[in-house]
């Protein structure tokens, strides 16, 4: 399967390109939205959590931002990804190609968007004056790839299931919102009561977000346990995603 998808790399590339180009097509600020959107979100959360609900975290804007950008990637990948196959139903019904290409392209284009967002993140990190050890910085791509696997695995499941069950699209927007609050994005995991901490740990995004924050906020190499947990979960979800997708794609052409 991997071999076949590799053969279709040009298709993935074209679809990502088309998606990125089409995303802000016709809007006045165009591509700038890639940067403006996360900055505005940052502004809102920052207002809420450092002025109204004071969190007491030092440099809260940075604390939040290094987690928010990866979170936005994850959440848009799984919610938007859920309708990606349906959106391409003309292709799926008429032409053969490994259908995995669709969620892969979608998640990849979200991922590229996150990388662009990281240009802003790095800017904010430099502005804040946090010192990051070079070794920690080396861990950053690893964490990103792990998150990519995780998002892809889940997007594969949601995109395939949505073909048979359209409500999932709407259910997912609620799930994504709730999921954000059981992931330490806007707060530190330490403030979560210990007896509920297990919920955090079965959540695969927790270790990813903690790792991002370790690197970019605390400037330190993430703990081995956190990294390991993230890698294992990422791989497991990707495998489950592939299996589910392979099982469900057989009837796509008939169901769409």
């Amino acid at each position: 399967m991997i071999k076949e998808i590799y053969a279709y790399r040009e298709m993935i590339f074209s679809m990502v390109q088309k998606d990125l180009r089409g995303r802000y097509k016709g809007s006045f600020l165009g591509f700038l939205w890639t940067f403006i959107n996360p900055l505005l979100q940052l502004l809102v959360y920052n207002l809420v959590f450092s002025i109204i609900l004071r969190s007491g975290v030092d440099k809260y804007y940075l604390f939040l931002f290094v987690a928010l950008i990866p979170w936005i990637f994850f959440s848009s990948a799984i919610t938007g990804g859920s309708v990606s196959v349906i959106a391409q139903k003309d292709l799926v019904k008429k032409i053969y190609f490994p259908n995995e290409v669709i969620p892969i392209s979608y998640v990849t284009s979200c991922f590229v968007n996150m990388l662009l967002g990281f240009v802003v993140v790095i800017g904010v990190v430099i502005y804040s004056g946090v010192h990051i050890s070079p070794l920690a910085l080396l861990c950053l791509p690893v964490v990103m790839i792990v998150e990519y696997f995780l998002a892809l695995g889940i997007a594969m499941i949601t995109s395939a299931v949505t073909v048979y069950f359209r409500d999932l699209e709407h259910i997912l927007t609620i799930i994504a919102m709730a999921w954000m609050y059981i992931t330490p994005v806007v707060y530190d995991i330490e403030i979560c009561p210990t007896e509920y901490r297990w919920i955090m740990h079965i959540n695969p995004m927790t270790s990813v977000i903690i790792a991002f924050r370790d690197i970019l906020y605390y400037g330190r190499v993430p703990e081995m346990m956190t990294l390991l947990e993230a890698v294992v979960l990422g791989v497991v979800f990707l495998l489950i995603g592939c299996l589910v997708f392979r099982k469900l794609k057989r009837r796509f052409a008939e169901e769409l």
């Binding site: 053969a7 790399r9 040009e10 032409i95 053969y96 057989r250 008939e254």
Partner: protein, 456 residues
């Protein structure tokens, strides 16, 4: 498996789910459990065949027989419920041409995207793009967005992309409906070339001539099973025989339907007449004669013209009239579809209304739908005497081999006096259709043979 075999299909079957009333929303699924009921409609029951490298095969069959489904299973857009399909090499399907086209992108960009859908890398596409553009003959327009293309240009571009990919197996559904005649010929030649290079080809088509020209074998799929396989010409002969029988059946049903409709209409007319008569009687009793006459006139208009009235609208003096014309096949069944070289009989019912000294002749003529008179004769020419005594009679016209080539035909029937004046002339008394499994053209088939000799 033989190593030369590149496509092997073993006992595949496929059912489609036909939802009685499908609900894909949660609410509908929960509330209306019965709505999730579906019927399994079997499309393919048990199909097996194998194709060796470099062979071309054709799949034929009537609409809905499962041939296109077979092709879809080969492309892997769908998967069989049971059975196994093994294919070796790169498969390219020319099924939905241009399905991946994006209207706002230019022709060139679409070539890249479309070729990418077939699994080509950028380098491979770079190498081919000029060939593709040249083949499509769209050089002038290639950088315009494809939404500005005509539908012919659109399919030409799509076909050019698909046919330029080095496939090991090429699957084609109704190919040559592409562009104008010149471009079609070009595509067809390209296809032959591709076959000569060793590409395996599977074609689904209604154009049996094309399959015969390019394919080594044909499979006739009927109701989800392979009914016949072998040399295209032989398989197609059986298939066309079946189609002819089927069409005749349909035509017979149609005749029946028309007949029952006519009877119903007549009955209605009779009732209306009876009612009108009743009304007028009542009117007679109540009102003045003037108004009752009017009522009668009105009722007369509503009644459909009777056979007699139709006759009066026809040419001729009406001393002899044609009542009914029917055409029969060799089994004595009235039909409107015949195969070329069928034995037929036309029965003409006539009624002689008044005696005259003159002899009469019954004339029959066959016209092709474009108005060409194909054949016409009458009893006077043939020296056959028709009895002219008063009363109803039937004249039969028999042909051992009706050798008209396929198309629609009309039959004119006339009764003439010896001096040439017309008693009755019924134009388009009966229309019928000819069908044929051969591809010769013209109006008639000439009874012929070929011979050759070389000069010493």
């Amino acid at each position: 498996m033989d190593k030369d075999v590149v496509i092997s299909v073993e006992n595949i079957s496929k059912k489609f789910r036909v939802y009685i009333d499908k609900g894909s929303q949660l609410k509908e699924r929960m509330l209306f459990k019965e709505r999730n009921r579906y019927e399994d409609r079997p499309v393919l029951k048990d199909i097996s065949f194998s194709v060796r490298k470099g062979e071309a095969i054709g799949l034929v069959g009537h609409n809905g027989c499962g041939k296109s489904t077979t092709l879809k299973l080969l492309t892997r857009i769908m998967y069989p419920d049971s059975g196994k399909i093994t294919m070796k090499g790169r498969v390219v399907a020319l099924i939905e041409l241009g399905a991946g086209f994006h209207p706002d992108m230019s022709g060139r960009e679409n070539i890249y995207f479309n070729a990418a859908i077939f699994g080509l890398s950028r380098k491979e596409i770079d190498d081919k793009v000029e060939d593709i553009i040249a083949f499509s003959e769209l050089e002038e327009f290639i950088d315009n967005p494809v939404r500005t293309y005509s539908s012919g240009m659109y399919t030409r571009l799509a076909f050019s992309v698909a046919i330029s990919i080095d496939a090991d197996i090429l699957l084609i559904d109704e190919i040559l409906a592409v562009g104008d005649a010149g471009f079609q010929a070009k595509c067809f030649n390209r296809l032959k070339q591709i076959k000569a290079q060793g590409t395996t080809i599977v074609i689904v088509s209604h154009s049996l001539g094309q399959i015969e020209e390019i394919c080594d074998r044909s499979y006739w799929i009927h109701e989800g099973l392979i009914k016949s396989e072998g040399k295209p010409v032989d398989v197609h002969e059986q298939y066309l025989d079946y189609i002819a029988d089927y069409r005749q059946e349909v035509a017979a049903k149609e005749v029946q339907r028309q007949e029952s409709k006519r009877i119903a209409a007549e009955k209605k007319a009779e009732e209306a007449e009876a009612e009108a008569a009743l009304n007028s009687e009542e009117n007679d009793q109540k009102e003045s004669t003037a108004s009752s006459e009017q009522a009668q006139d009105n009722s007369g208009e509503e009644i459909e013209p009777t056979a007699e009235e139709l006759v009066s609208a026809r040419k001729g003096d009406g001393t002899v009239i044609v009542k009914k014309v029917l055409m029969y096949n060799s089994n004595n069944v009235a039909q409107t579809i015949f195969k070329t070289d069928d034995k037929i009989r036309v029965d003409i019912d006539i009624e002689v209304k008044s005696d005259k000294e003159q002899a009469i002749g019954v004339a029959i003529g066959f016209l092709r739908l474009d108005g060409v008179l194909c054949y016409s004769t009458n009893t006077l020419i043939d020296g056959y005497t028709v009895d002219r005594s008063k009363g109803k009679k039937m004249i039969s016209f028999e042909v051992d081999k009706l050798s008209f080539l396929p198309g629609g035909y009309a039959t004119d029937v006339a009764i003439v006096n010896e001096d040439g004046s017309i008693c009755d002339y019924l134009s388009n008394a009966l229309s019928f259709e000819m069908i044929c499994k051969h591809h010769d053209s013209g109006v008639f088939r000439l009874n012929h043979s070929w011979r050759s000799s070389s000069e010493e």
